[in-house]
């Protein structure tokens, strides 16, 4: 397909920046996509009056990999691996969201053990994602040591994922109908170790930042938004909760048995960068609470559904059961069919509301998959949040949103 070369004309710029820029009153400056504090490949067009950002125009799409189009060409089971690559700090959360959508579409139930393991893994993933946020956020504000500490802690979580699935990041461990395989016997001990030693560490990190006057100066009152603004702009997760929106999908629309766990939803009052940081720190503590309760109740039993029409039979059955061989063959060559209808499922990812719109057409491949991703929504609100602040604040604002460009661009 021929691609015509064309350049951005002044008229096209006219709608994006103010008239002052066209008269030369303000300066246009390009930031990114290759910039360490844009957390990936986010490009921003800044309109500056001195050092104050008059306008910010985000430009995304540098990491667009056509995941939704690719999933349409794969069976339900096989397109799961694409979800890992979307939000690469929340792989298991993406797996979970997609699997819940498939399970809802084909009406498949998940055994209790798998539900509990899913909750443990999703919360571990939330902690590891928030650790990355904490490290990179501090690094952007020139507190470099925290970055190293956080990555050290995160490595423990990745070790647990590797123990379960063999992969540190692209796990594809949560599958429609349950899990890929059972967690190993060492899993419980490793999780308990992690849960017992992390609270101390969180305390230490907090003591490095929370009362640090340099940190407070750069974050208090920066990018403060109200609860109404947050909802108007479709914000969710820690950014909205920092503004005082009491909304957590784990509480309001529970999935995977979250209604049976006791935890609090930390809220902020100012909606500024500092509150977003505090909310995330507190969320890590609440996640530890959930993991503790979950690991205590981890039941014995099957780790995936025994509905053979959707879930492959265990290897041991293949040697003596003809039905098992047929099911295995059908599932791995053709896949399972899903009804001609659509569902919309949401989960609370570390960044906010992650939604999966899934439509089937009666065949073994998804007819349409769409992910409503929290980073996309957060970046849309970035101009609203950053107008009138300094360029140096902009770095703090971007990292406080914790955007993942793989999540925004898909």
């Amino acid at each position: 397909m021929a691609i015509e070369e064309r350049q951005l004309t002044l008229d096209e710029l006219r709608g994006l920046v103010s008239e002052r820029a066209i008269e030369g009153d303000t300066v246009l400056l390009n930031m990114g996509p290759q910039h360490p504090s844009t957390h990936g490949v986010l490009r921003l067009l800044l309109e500056l009056d001195g050092e104050v950002a008059v306008n910010v125009v985000p430009d995304i799409g540098f990491l667009h990999t056509g995941i939704e189009k690719n999933m349409e060409a794969k069976s339900y089971e096989k397109s799961l691996v694409m979800t890992d690559r979307m939000d690469y700090l929340n792989n298991l959360g993406n797996n979970l969201c997609y699997c819940l959508a498939v399970e809802k579409l084909v009406d498949l139930d998940v055994p209790e053990r798998a539900q509990v393991v899913r909750v443990i893994l999703a919360e571990l993933q939330r902690i590891s994602s928030h650790l990355i946020f904490l490290g990179t956020h501090a690094l952007d504000l020139a507190a470099a040591s925290l970055f190293l500490y956080c990555f050290r802690e995160r490595e423990h979580v990745l070790d647990i994922f590797e123990m379960c699935s063999g992969a540190r990041m692209m796990t594809s461990f949560i599958r429609p109908g349950g899990l890929w395989r059972d967690v190993p016997p060492e899993f419980e001990g490793a999780v308990r170790d992690f849960v017992s030693y992390l609270p101390d560490r969180i305390q230490q990190y907090e003591s490095l930042l929370s009362k640090n006057p340099l940190y407070i100066d750069r974050t208090r009152g920066i990018s403060a938004i109200t609860a109404e603004q947050a909802l108007e702009w479709g914000l969710s997760g820690p950014v909205a909760r920092a503004a005082g929106v009491n909304w957590d999908l784990r509480k309001s629309n529970p999935y995977s048995g979250y209604e049976r766990y006791e935890f609090d939803v930390p809220l902020g009052t100012h909606g500024d960068v500092y509150d977003r940081y505090i909310v995330r720190i507190e969320e890590m503590r609440q996640s530890l609470r959930i993991i503790e309760q979950a690991i205590d109740r981890l039941p014995e039993g099957p780790f995936r559904s025994d509905n053979r029409k959707f879930v492959p039979p265990p290897r041991s059955e293949l040697g003596h059961s003809m039905e098992a061989v047929i099911h295995h063959f059908k599932l791995w060559t053709e896949g399972f069919p899903a009804p001609k209808n659509s569902v919309f499922v949401t989960v609370e990812s570390p960044r906010g509301e992650l939604g999966c719109f899934l439509e089937g057409d009666g065949g073994p491949k998804p007819y349409r998959v769409h992910f409503r991703t929290p980073s996309f929504a957060a970046l849309q609100a970035l101009p609203m949040m950053s107008r009138g602040f300094l360029v140096a604040d902009l770095v703090a604002i971007i990292s406080s949103l914790d955007p993942i460009l793989g999540d925004a661009d898909r």
């Binding site: 709608g15 799409g61 479709g234 919309f344 509301e353 939604g355 007819y367 409503r372």
Partner: protein, 173 residues
């Protein structure tokens, strides 16, 4: 009576025959409406304090090529008060597809509409800023349409190497 039933009843009362279809599937409700009734329906869902569907949770489109109407634009609204989702679908014809923008009611619709414009080629009338968002600005075509090929490379064996090589799109001067 749940909030969804109330919402459906209120919409029926207001829009009457203009509700084309009511879909119930796995406990989720989706209403199919024509584009010109969208603002009225969303306004009612958002502004009625009993319903309070004030949050646009997701917006996407589906391509039913070669059927007509070719596209459905799918809206998901959320009510924080009732913790409930409701879906709306707007059919859009395949010939120069266009439908009213939801931006006057939900300001965050803009980027979702840009994404649909980019990937499906549906125009949103009244949108403040309808540019491509994910694909490069000079891209030709709309990749998520069903008649847009996924693209793959033919497998070359020794017996057909030259034949495939001839029509392979190498970078040329």
């Amino acid at each position: 009576m749940g909030v969804i039933e109330t919402a459906v009843d209120n919409l029926r009362e207001r829009l009457g025959e203009r509700i084309l279809e009511l879909r119930e599937f796995r406990g989720q409700t989706t209403l199919v409406l024509p584009g010109e009734a969208l603002h009225e329906a969303c306004g009612l869902l958002r502004d009625d304090p009993e319903l309070a569907f004030g949050y646009l949770a997701a917006l996407t489109a589906v391509d039913y090529w070669p059927d007509e109407p070719r596209f459905h634009v799918v809206y998901q609204l959320y009510s924080h008060k009732h913790a409930a989702f409701i879906g709306l679908r707007v059919p859009v014809g395949g010939d120069e597809p266009s439908t009213p923008s939801l931006e006057p009611l939900f300001v965050n619709a803009n980027w979702y509409e840009r994404e649909i414009f980019d990937l499906f080629g549906i125009r949103f009338e009244g949108s403040s800023d309808l540019r491509r968002i994910l694909m490069p600005i000079d891209w030709v075509g709309h990749p998520l349409r069903k008649d847009y090929p996924l693209g793959y490379e033919e497998v070359q064996f020794t017996f057909n190497f030259d034949e495939i090589n001839r029509r392979k799109p190498y970078a040329k001067e």
